[in-house]
């Protein structure tokens, strides 16, 4: 096994101290000279025609600098299929639709002004479930598409289909079949730091926007289009990203409020800040899409999976974000989690007058895993098999190509399953706790681990810049949002270059100075940037060794002469100090350049910084800057066939839960939780555990308590009292995390992406444990005490 200096250590993250001191600067903390505060007026109906907007009283309020509506600003088309506009004209389609906005000298005046805006509406019939929206004669949410062509149904024109083998035939031949319907609710990402931005223009008409995003370069593209729409074609946007208070997928689209800040800044000539308050974050930011899934799985007599049919309907809400591509990620586990030859998958995305949805950590995978893994337990039961044995029999294996064309290379699925079974003491416990209403359950996950080619490019750039003192700036287009990206990148860079991590500073979040990156999503940050860093480090080392070839021996000589001056007894060894070495003779480790042949010779060592200074301080000098662009060997999914090797490698994991259910109250108590993940290779043990713990607790929220409640399109629980996320006392059970290292050949030092997986299989693992405990299967999340009580009642 390779011996690493820093990879696999457990070390504090570089951004931690500033955060601990309250020094990190979030968008909330930024104030610019002359800055105005923007505030948005939202719709009062789920679906209505706008008849008139009266802004006159708002305009007259002292301190107000601009009031804008869709009627006095240029039209900007936004969203994944451009079916949305920052300010609505003619019609509102959801409660959060923006109808007007204000910029004022302080936030209170802005708020007061918004309240003075009067909008007259004519209410329209609305649809709040995909089922209703697909009925004949249902109200149409969008009468035309983005190009103005008439539209007569509520289907989002993004369809996902996948077929492999012959599912119908497999159904006839199957020995056992399990069928079920499963639902998942709307849930909110619940970043502790709410969303916001500051937009400002320079006098040339170029825009700078400081904003909460995970996609600075795609956002630059979006905003440049907006500039063109407002008459500033050819002008540029600089996107900068302050410290992010969590993001969890909320930064994968550009949002209405950002465009509104831009319009207000343009109109006033002043920087304009819009930061959402907690209620706005709940009611006007896009949550995770709810799903309704009909699933059938079947196996042969021995328990080998033979078929899987999944038909899914997603509630899109009123507009379309990149979240409409979540079925592409769902397709991964549906086609490829466990080995199954005959697969049919179909996803419909439906417009409704609900809040529109977007990405959240896991990107569709938690919804898919919920149906797959619950239904798999049902099938195991039908087949009379233990769910663990059943999973082992069908587990993914290394070096396999799945029906979707995914090339599985490294694969620790079996090891994950075994770890969970061992830790839970599965054999002793499964099926043996009914009398005490105790049970164990497990569920697995399959996800991209080597980025995912969602866009045409899946690339990322890195620049490495070394200074006179041996400091290394690693400049990246990736984004730290709390997940530990900077820490992973610093360790990989240090290891690859041959410096200590304290010498590395990661610089990110500025489209003007950082190299291009497609976005920090799909658990790709450390994987892609890590690989780019290894490439850039190699180039930097080549340059360093070329300079060393001339200057190494003279430097050694100079130092020895200096030593002799101090200590006349010292004898300078007789070496060829004018020798020009070959660059290939050198090694660089922990900030010291030495000869490979004599790594332990204390005389033949020169610090990196001395070599670097030699590069600068001479005639015809040079500097050590290197760059690299890494674009992983993966493919986009062919929309027609649903095939394509989306990721350069895949990640596996299994979660296990032991629960106890109170039959009187319906409450579920977690007794212990085990999470085993095939991570490829641990880069920083501290941050990887943080990702798994954090994802798991979000998953437990998804399983047991989180639900974004609505009534006819209006959110009912826009606060943390009514929208319950886990708090510290809820984490009152032992947790065991196991990172299984499979040394992926494509990963940086063998590592695969782990940002999202911790959340994915939690809910089905818990539901399966509940079934083991009390014999009832809950099919819609969250698993509340009421649902358990009513299921118990039905069972009797």
């Amino acid at each position: 096994m390779t011996q690493y200096s820093f990879i696999g250590t457990e070390v504090p993250r570089p951004d931690a101290s500033d955060k601990a001191a309250g020094k990190a600067l979030y968008i909330h903390d930024m104030v610019l000279p002359g800055m105005l505060y923007g505030k948005i007026k939202y719709s009062e109906y789920a679906h209505a025609r706008i008849k008139h907007i009266d802004t006159s009283r708002a305009e007259r309020l002292p301190g107000v600098r601009a009031v804008i509506t869709g009627y006095n600003t240029p039209e900007i088309r936004i969203g994944f299929i451009r079916d949305n506009m920052p300010l609505k004209k003619d019609k509102v389609r959801q409660f959060r639709d923006e109808v007007a906005a204000v910029a004022a000298i302080d936030p209170e005046i802005a708020e007061e002004a918004v309240e003075l805006i009067r909008v007259e509406y004519e209410e329209l019939p609305a649809v709040f479930t995909p089922e209703d929206a697909l009925k004949e004669g249902a109200p149409i949410v969008h009468e035309t598409d983005a190009r103005g062509r008439p539209k007569s149904d509520n289907l989002v024109p993004v369809a996902w289909n996948f077929v492999a083998g012959d599912v119908e035939k497999a159904k006839q031949e199957a020995a056992f079949i399990a069928e079920g319907r499963f639902q998942t609710p709307l849930i909110q990402q619940s970043c502790m730091g709410t969303a916001g931005c500051i937009a400002e223009f320079d006098l040339e008409g170029n825009l700078t926007i400081h904003t909460k995003t995970q996609i600075p370069f795609l956002a630059q593209n979006d905003f440049n289009r907006a500039l063109a729409a407002i008459g500033l074609k050819g002008k540029n946007t600089r996107v900068t990203v302050p410290t992010l208070g969590g993001s969890f997928g909320t930064g994968l689209d550009t949002h209405g409020y950002e465009y509104i800040a831009i319009l207000l800044a343009y109109k006033t000539g002043r920087p304009v800040k819009i930061v959402l308050n907690r209620e706005e974050e709940f009611t006007t930011l896009s949550p995770r899409q709810p799903t309704e899934t009909h699933i059938i799985q079947g196996c042969d007599k021995e328990g080998k999976l033979t078929l899987r049919e999944v038909r899914m309907v997603l509630d899109n809400g009123a507009y379309t974000s990149w979240g409409a591509t979540t079925p592409s990620v769902m397709m991964l586990p549906i086609s490829s989690l466990y080995r199954v030859p005959n697969v049919l998958y179909e996803a419909k995305i439906v417009y409704t007058n609900n809040t529109y949805c977007q990405a959240m950590r896991g990107y569709g995978n938690p919804q898919a895993a919920w149906a797959l893994e619950c239904n798999l337990d049902d099938l195991a039961e039908k087949a009379g098999m233990d769910p663990f044995e059943f999973r082992m029999l069908n587990a993914n294996i290394p070096d396999d190509t799945t029906p979707m064309g995914l090339n599985i290379t490294s694969c620790g699925h079996e090891a994950c399953l075994k770890t969970v079974a061992d830790r839970l003491n599965w054999k002793q416990k499964r099926g043996k706790g009914r009398d005490k209403a105790r049970g164990v359950g497990m569920a697995s996950l399959f996800h991209v681990g080597g980025s995912g080619r969602v866009y045409r490019s899946d690339g990322t750039g890195i620049i490495m810049k070394l200074d006179d003192f041996g400091n290394v700036s690693v400049i990246t287009g990736g984004i730290e949002m709390g997940q530990g990206f900077n820490s992973a990148l610093a360790l990989v860079s240090a290891e690859a270059l041959g410096v200590t991590p304290d010498k590395v500073t990661v610089i990110s979040g500025d489209t003007a100075t950082c190299p291009w990156d497609v976005g920090t999503h799909a658990s790709r940050g450390a994987f892609t940037a890590g690989n780019a860093a290894i490439m850039a480090a190699q180039k930097a080392r080549d340059k360093i060794f070329r300079i060393a070839s001339e200057h190494f021996m003279p430097r050694v000589h100079y130092k020895l002469k200096k030593r002799k001056k101090k200590d006349p007894d010292f004898e300078i060894p007789d070496l060829d100090y004018n020798r020009i070495c070959d660059p290939s003779e050198f090694e660089l480790k922990e900030n010291v350049v030495f000869l490979k042949e004599e790594p332990d010779n204390p005389l033949l060592r020169v610090s990196l910084e001395e070599i670097l200074r030699e590069a600068h301080y001479r005639e015809q000098g040079s500097m050590i800057i290197s760059e690299a662009f890494y674009d992983p060997p993966n493919q986009m999914i062919d929309m027609k066939t649903g095939r394509g090797n989306l990721s350069a490698t895949y990640i596996f994991g299994t979660h296990g839960a032991e629960v106890e259910v109170d039959r009187e109250t319906g409450k579920v108590k977690i007794l212990q939780f085990v999470a085993a993940h095939d991570v490829g290779k641990v880069i920083n043990r501290q941050t990887i555990k943080g990702q798994i713990y954090g994802g798991m607790m979000q998953g437990l929220g998804y399983a047991l308590c989180e639900e974004y409640k609505t009534d006819k399109g209006r959110n009912l629980n826009p606060n943390f009292l009514d929208y319950k996320i886990f708090s510290a006392p809820d984490v009152n059970f032992p947790i065991h995390i196991e990172c299984i290292e499979t040394d992926d050949k494509e990963g940086p030092f063998g590592a695969k992406g782990v940002g999202e997986p911790g959340l994915v299989p939690v809910a089905p693992a818990v539901a399966n444990a509940i079934y083991d405990a009390i014999g009832v299967r809950i099919r819609d999340l969250p698993i509340t005490p009421e649902k358990i009580l009513s299921a118990l009642k039905k069972k009797q």
Binding site: P12, R13, D15, A16, S17, D18, K19, A20, A21, G22, K23, A24, L25, Y26, H28, D29, Q189, S190, C191, M192, G193, T194, T243, L244, G245, G246, S247, F248, N277, R278, M481, G482, Q483, G484, Q686, T687, K689, G690, Y693, G694, G695, M696, M697, Q698, N719, F720, L721, I725, F726, S727, A728, P729, V731, N732, I735
Partner: protein, 155 residues
Amino acid sequence: MKKLIRFTLNGHEVSAEVESHRMLLEVLRNTFHLTGTKEGCGQGECGACTVLVDGLSVDSCLYPAFEVEGKSVTTIEGLVEEGSRLHPIQEAFVEHGGIQCGFCTPGMIMSTKALLDENPHPTDDEIKRGISGNLCRCTGYVQIVESIRKAAEKY
């Protein structure tokens, strides 16, 4: 109505003209530019705004600024010692992975300070109760509790 309030802020005597409806959080952030104290909800539900008033932890978003008259307020900035040395609690959070996005961190650390000042050797349950008003979406709390346990060892 405006009033001049005088209080001790991170060890220094300060004063400010404040309107009656202002909360302490706004005064700290907007008047004194101490932006380390965060606003996560503005309604007493998340604990991101936790500061100490006369040693007790309060949600500064709900604490009327008028009421700090004559009292002593400590914010996250007040824990950092001369020469930018972190307080042992801050250090423990850094060392043991108690920080991810960092937005909950200042409030979490101030609640920890209040807890350990009163109970220097808390059990895990007492730790969890001590930070029960502080929500964190990133960490799942495990490494936060670990950080607090380690901080207590040095307290």
